[in-house]
Symmetry: C2
Subunit: 689 residues, 2 copies
């Protein structure tokens, strides 16, 4: 009791950490907004993109709202009132982070384009802080929301007569709702945003580049605004929601395991403290992305990342040695951090340099051979990351048991602020390049904007590695937390039990199902956009000659509707299938189900991400003038593979990350209810026992 009381100040520190992050969100927003937004034409284009993005986000949130209401009612009456409240706040904070980040990102792009007139590094000084707003919103709101809800629950329980120890246990069991809220938003945002971005991209290219032969981002193409909106809603908002969810999930699984497995509130507080120092390290990192006009921009971005890593190692060492006083925790954190970086660097290796060159070489014999070689390379690229994840989980487990795995996930996600900043900077640069083209700002400006974009791509590969690695460890930690709370921790989960095996066989198809549905959604949505673009070229006189304006709002609308419609089935199935398995086959089968989906999902996510990136880069390699350069047969073949790779890397792959975590957290939240329902069903239908 007294020992618990000593830990409570950490919750205060957590809340302060969150507020501090928000102060920097405000600071960087001011910095961006104070810059010149460019001439009227630029502002018009930017505002079209902005309107499209915000319209999509609003409609997406509205669509999700129905789901949220149903889930809220189910949790409120079926599980616990406070869990339902935590669910709402968790989802709300995710939405809020999305709105803030998207707002600033869409305002950054025309300002970045304007700065491109001056110099490359001036442009970076707007684009990067613009991305940092999204990065810091995600971590600050995540931590702030979690801290406030956790503290409020404990305070409320104590004030209504519960003793402190009991209050902490109860609050911890309810805080899982927060993580489920985060996961729900993330899945819909990733799937919806991912379908949007690639459907618009493929749809625009199919008619624009391939049929009419007009360049990328040409203002005559009716789908070009939708394409730019897609960058924002997919790579910026979707990705933010994704990492918000990983971040929250890792912390929540740490809290649950610390309290229910270790019975140690101090360990729970360590999870929060480590996240606070992560925010500080991320903020410091942003300031290291400084611009001296003569420096290689890649070096500048790397400096930011490295500074964050170094400061994080330092701070976490101080916290662990000075306060937690168990050096094992430090090594658990490090195992995750290092594994995450390794996953990233391996991804970079297989999607650049010689690996890409030998994929591009195959273009000599056509698209089929590029495809075969790219598939072979990216399947091989799953080997080292999974070994790294396996080693990290063994080390963490040996040092601190299941809690070590949670710490490892927290370590991998400590720098979420920085990685999201680097990721969100990408679409800003991409949009800036689009605006410079559409507003006819000249070759030099466009070139600078494209260079800005290219730098981001390379660094983002490392970020994507973190996203996948952390998803694996977070899902594993959530899975362990699930096992702990349904009582499998003591009995174990025996693979040799037919129910567990059957669960695994069914679990392993979930990733395939999600990939199938998201790919199909992109394909079909792209098809309807291409139809619309063709119609406009046919029916709007003078459009191809540049004498009339396209109806881009129509394309935005079609894409929005298609993406929202197609996100529902995959989103719902991720929630409903684990519940069904739990109810029909019981907690052991559900455990097997989660393990099965994790084991197939992680390598598939790596494969999809790296295949997409490798084909993209092979195409770029050819466009640089190799193997015949732009317009050659080799180039055409590489465009085919890039078109396939786009939804692989930006829709299906990232959706998998969330699927794994969402299914684990749903099982965690509904664990005891599922056990009860399974008992009832098994009483009626004894063969299900």
């Amino acid at each position: 009791m007294n020992q618990i009381l000593q830990q409570m100040p950490v919750l205060g520190v957590t809340i302060i950490g969150g507020i501090m992050g928000l102060i920097f969100v405000w600071y960087f927003s001011r910095k961006v907004l104070s810059a010149n937004p460019g001439n009227e034409q630029m502002q018009t284009i930017a505002s079209l993109i902005r309107k499209g993005a915000i319209a999509f986000l609003t409609r997406e949130y509205k669509t999700i709202l129905y789901f949220m209401i149903v889930m809220f009612i189910v949790i409120f009456f079926g599980i616990a009132k406070k869990t339902a409240i935590a669910f709402l706040v968790g989802a709300g904070c995710s939405m809020l982070a999305g709105i803030i980040g998207m707002n600033i990102s869409t305002l950054s792009s025309s300002r970045t384009a304007e700065k491109c007139k001056l110099s490359f590094n001036e442009a970076l000084s707007i684009a990067f802080p613009g991305g940092a707003v999204m990065g810091l919103s995600v971590v600050s709101l995540g931590l702030l929301g979690l801290g406030i809800v956790y503290l409020a629950f404990i305070w409320y329980l104590v004030s209504t007569g519960s003793d402190l120890t009991k209050a902490v246990y109860e609050a911890t069991s309810m805080i899982v709702g927060f993580s489920m809220g985060a996961s729900s938003i993330a899945l819909f945002a990733r799937v919806g945003g991912g379908i949007y971005t690639k459907a618009a991209d493929v749809g625009a290219d199919l008619v624009g580049k391939i049929e009419e032969g007009i360049p990328e981002d040409d203002p005559r193409n009716p789908a070009v605004i939708a394409d730019n909106v897609g960058d924002m809603v997919g790579d910026c908002a979707g990705m933010g929601a994704d990492l918000y969810e990983s971040y929250v999930g890792a912390i929540v699984s740490g809290l649950v395991i610390a309290i229910f497995n270790l019975n140690d509130p101090k360990s729970a507080m360590l999870c929060l403290l480590l996240s606070v120092v992560g925010i500080i390290a991320s903020i410091i990192g942003v300031f290291f992305v400084r611009t001296k006009s003569d420096q290689d921009p890649q070096v500048v971005l790397n400096k930011g990342l490295i500074a964050s890593v170094v400061f994080y190692i330092l701070f976490s060492l101080i916290v662990i040695l000075g306060w937690y006083k168990n050096i094992n925790a430090f090594w658990s954190v490090m195992s995750g951090l290092i594994a995450g970086m390794l996953v990233g660097f391996v991804a970079q290796y297989y999607t650049s340099g010689n690996a890409v060159k030998s994929i591009a070489e195959q273009a000599k014999t056509g698209a089929a051979t590029i495809f075969i070689e790219g598939t072979a390379t990216s399947m091989l690229s799953t080997v080292l990351p999974l070994i790294a994840i396996a080693i990290a989980s063994i080390i963490a487990y040996k040092l601190q048991g299941v809690f070590g795995i949670a710490l490892s996930a927290i370590g991998m996600l400590a720098l979420t602020g920085t990685t999201v900043a680097i990721d969100a900077y990408g679409p800003i640069a991409d949009n800036a390049a689009g605006i410079s083209e559409m507003a006819h700002m000249g070759e030099e400006v466009r070139r600078r904007a494209e260079r800005l974009d290219a730098v981001g791509n390379t660094t983002a590969a490392v970020g994507k590695g973190f996203a996948i690695g952390s998803a694996a460890l977070t899902a594993l930690a959530l899975f362990s937390a699930y096992a702990e709370t349904v009582g499998l921790g003591s009995t174990g989960l025996n693979i040799l039990d037919a129910k567990v095996i059957a669960g695994m066989f069914i679990g392993c198809i979930m990733p395939f199902f999600l990939i199938s549905k998201t790919l199909q959604a992109v394909g079909r949505a792209a098809y309807s956009i291409a139809e619309e673009v063709r119609r406009q070229f046919r029916e709007i006189p003078g459009l191809l000659e540049g004498k009339a304006l396209p109806d881009s709002a129509k394309c935005v609308d079609i894409t929005t509707q298609a993406a929202l419609k197609k996100m529902i089935l995959p989103g719902l199935s991720a929630v409903i299938v684990p519940l069904l398995i739990g109810i029909l086959l019981g907690k052991e089968a559900l455990g097997g189900f989660l393990a099965g989906s994790l084991i197939t999902g992680v390598p598939l996510a790596i494969y999809l991400a790296n295949a997409g990136a490798a084909w993209d880069n092979a195409k770029k390699y050819i466009e640089e003038g190799n193997l015949g350069g732009k317009g050659s047969d080799a180039h055409k073949a590489s465009v085919v593979c890039d078109t396939v790779g786009d939804p692989f890397k930006d829709t299906s792959g990232p959706s998998l990350n969330i699927l794994l975590k969402l299914m684990s957290v749903v099982s965690l939240v509904f664990g005891s209810a599922l056990i009860y329902l399974h008992e009832q069903i098994a009483n009626l239908l004894p063969f299900l026992r």
Copy 2:
């Protein structure tokens, strides 16, 4: 003791069953050989293909021999002398089945082509018995070898003073070597044969069809003989070795589980008896493929399959009710038989009809969209088969525990004789079509031969389903047998243990690794064949005009060398990696490793098989005149996807089936040695404990 003695006659019945099968092998061979082999030109072409195929097989077996010798020595001195002998006999019977089947198949093709002059059904009356020789060789030699070795071991042990009970236990623990011998040959044959067939096919098409625009099987193409050889060594010999292995593996896992888990020799004998009646049902099935000249050939083949199924159900019911006297065993067998057929029918559904039509429709927007749609459809096609497998394993387990799973696998494989016959009939028809083209036998003959081929393809889809489904259940049964023999049966294999999780994470990359290596092998070998074909067109004067003969032996030689070189790494890694995991991380991690590879391998195998078949059929659909027909842009796009799908369905996919079983059986054979070695290593390096 006395109870065991009562069971011994079953071993005699097993041996008689095997001999009976061989008698029909001889009978069908006579039937084929008595037919007219055609004119001199046809015989020359057929003998070129035959020489190439036998040369490949001989060199393949020689290459495998080094591996066999090393493994023999390791097992002889490291495990047990008798296990090593069983290993040799198991491998030898597989090779013998391959040689017999390949001999007759290559002799059947020109005879089938000759009969095509008369009528379609006359041709079927040669082609199908030709395939049945392979089918019956596989099951007869498998059962005969197993029966003789098992009986010999027991007899030897008893005659050297052991009591009968002990002798049966010892012999059972050694018979696993037989299964490992089967698996070793199968992996190399499948991988080597698979690389050969697709490298030759793709290499021939790249230059012939795409660059020079000459038709399939044109005698001017230097790689066309290699392509026809490939059909034989891949689809006939490779596939035979694959199903031989599944067949033997299922029986052996049943023996091990019956003896070590149930302590019941009668159950062990049931596994053998069920296989004997399977042979009888298969033979009856062959006789049902009767030819009335006015009948739909598809109906004729289906009649054979259905007759086998019906007679098998009848016979197994008689055996189980009349002798084993436990009806649960019958339902276990049925669960496997039905699941296998379901997997097959689902495959047929997703690779024909409307599914293929909507993939082909995407050709309007190019290869990329066909690719996306095909990937989506074939990933979706994994859902129902895995649910069927999950349900079959739950039912079998509920009825009879782990032994039920083995019986389920045996049920699925009972009709191996029939399914191999249908499969092996494919390359005979394919070769007959090739010979009719090369020997200029006219449009009508070619058309009949192609129709023969097409009928086989549809029925073969069901056979492929059996191969994958049975691989899953056999691997599961072997995995259970492994767990039983290393003592995990009592303690369980806990997924929540970090070692098991780490093992699973590493296991799940094995299928990706194998796919990667086999795809790359096909791509690179095809590339060097294409180079050679180009060289010959360039350097042999008059070749393109049909005035000079190509040097087809050179192409056969290049393909053989490439395929044999590239099969070594994937083949060895399937043996070495599980041993390394067991030695370094222990039996729990190895258990997790096997489970992880099984869980990812099965859906990937289904995905690859169905994607390849769907693209193939989408191309054929367009070639039938839809969407612009042959030569249109849509057709070109579909050819790209078909080229990718070929190694998916004929090299990587089938190799996966064997990988899963081989790794399980290696773990089973080396189980106790691995435990000992792990102890030694862990004494030196305690952190591995």
